[in-house]
Amino acid sequence: MESTNRKYKIGDAVMVAVENPTGNPRTPHYIRGKRGVIGAVHGLLENVRDHRNIHNPLYTVRFDLSEVSTCHDQDSIWVDVHEEWLSELRLEERN
């Protein structure tokens, strides 16, 4: 079930799209437009009881809490995001 054809690897810095690129609704609003780092690569997953067809490769993206919230604790939020929502973060955007 897992694909070898994945765009990102663990540690890659990524940005989540602001707009819905394909119609898959399962990206929560609070991470849209936010920067994170790939924390896990899941690839293509089958979940026939949940939805039809197979979505694009799935990643767990780690966000600093302060990136997605006004709270400044040194904690983190890990969210599962499909590939089409992600873009590579260019060096100058990382700060």
Partner: protein, 357 residues
């Protein structure tokens, strides 16, 4: 949700009637507005049943035709009445599972259909939940009436399904029996084994369901399973901010607060404050809180740390220390003394209900 009485580590304590009633109120509205009524609407939209079918079924329904047999509380004291409401809710939830299974087969439904229909992505579709007020007594009386009304609709819906030929009484009775035999709670034995068997723990953390298959525990079937380990440096917490995804096929029914808007919002805004205010859990500054938001095809649970003072305990004894809360990160596994105390108060780790999906 406000104040510390909303949820406590030992929610099963029967002496806290308020907490029990709150849990029934929240769950009842959740199942009605999120699981049952959106499904009826979905099926009406597609002509599987019609409003007229429901009306006719209501008229034709005779007492001896009723699928769900009403029960009576075992006593008049408050504890007996609370248990009665809880059992009734349980029957209602199982009833929804029963009709959902038929609907799913008849219509080839998937969970995602229901999410859309119930407004997870669009407030426009949301069915209003009822708010609860008054004294404990008033709330209990209201709950009895609501349960009666809601189960009435469920009963009528079952009759309509039979009448329209989507199911037979025999099929439904067989499924009803199965629903009472299914007990998906395997959290305790899994964690206890991971605490005592390092090779199993490694396999569990790296392969998820695969390790469960080897262990002989039913491994569930919804999505990929990922188990995240609590350590001296990391405290993990699980949420689904989009709906309420949860590995129910392994851990059983979802606790009411996990599905509550308040938890789902606050845990990703200020995790430390959220677990402190809602569960009385102080996570030490030496630990990073990592919140996992299960937004897609992965289902998570937490491997809690083994409590102090448990050296030499058997797997069977260890399994009793594992609470539902500790698998979500809303609590720690119980220390042996806490567990003894909880057991005395009748607060064994719950055997959660079967969820209708």
């Amino acid at each position: 949700m406000s104040g510390k009485h909303d949820h406590k580590a030992f929610e099963g304590h029967m002496h806290d009637f308020e907490a029990h009633i709150r849990a029934v109120e929240e769950d009842l509205e959740y199942y009605r507005a999120k699981r049952f009524e959106p499904r009826i609407i979905y099926l009406i939209r597609r002509g599987v049943v019609t409003f007229s079918d429901l009306l006719k079924a209501r008229v034709a329904l005779k007492r001896n035709n009723q699928f769900f047999k009403p029960r009576k509380p075992q006593g008049k004291n408050i504890e007996a009445r609370v248990r009665y409401l809880e059992e009734w809710l349980d029957a209602y939830v199982k009833g929804i599972a029963l009709v959902s299974a038929r609907a799913v087969e008849a219509m080839d439904m998937v969970t995602e259909d229901n999410r859309k229909e119930r407004g997870d992505y669009d407030d426009f579709f949301k069915i209003q939940k009822k708010e609860h007020h008054g004294t404990l007594e008033e709330r209990m009386v209201n709950l009895e009436q609501d349960l009666k009304d809601y189960q009435g609709l469920l009963e009528v819906f079952v009759q309509a399904l039979i009448k329209r030929g989507w199911s037979t009484r025999e099929q439904l009775q067989q499924r009803w029996q199965q629903l009472h035999e299914e007990r998906p709670w395997a959290g305790g034995v899994i964690v206890a084994k991971a605490w005592t068997d390092p090779a199993f723990k490694q396999a569990l953390l790296s392969t998820g369901r695969e390790a469960l298959r080897e262990m002989g525990v039913h491994q569930g079937k919804v999505g990929k399973l990922v188990v995240v380990e609590n350590t001296d440096k990391v405290h993990n917490v699980i949420v689904c901010t989009l709906c309420s995804c949860y590995p129910y096929d392994i851990l059983g029914d979802t606790p009411w607060w996990y599905k509550h808007e308040s938890y789902r919002t606050k845990i990703v805004q200020n995790p430390r404050a959220c677990v402190r205010d809602m569960f009385g859990l102080e996570v030490p500054a030496s630990k990073e809180v990592q919140v996992y938001d299960s937004t897609s095809d992965v289902r998570y649970f937490v491997l809690p740390q083994r409590p102090a003072g448990t050296e030499g305990m058997s797997e069977e004894e260890l399994a009793k220390l594992v609470t539902v809360d500790s698998l979500i990160g809303a609590g720690y596994a119980l220390e042996p003394l806490q567990q003894k105390k909880a057991e005395k108060l009748g607060a064994t780790p719950e055997a959660p209900r079967v969820r209708p999906d």
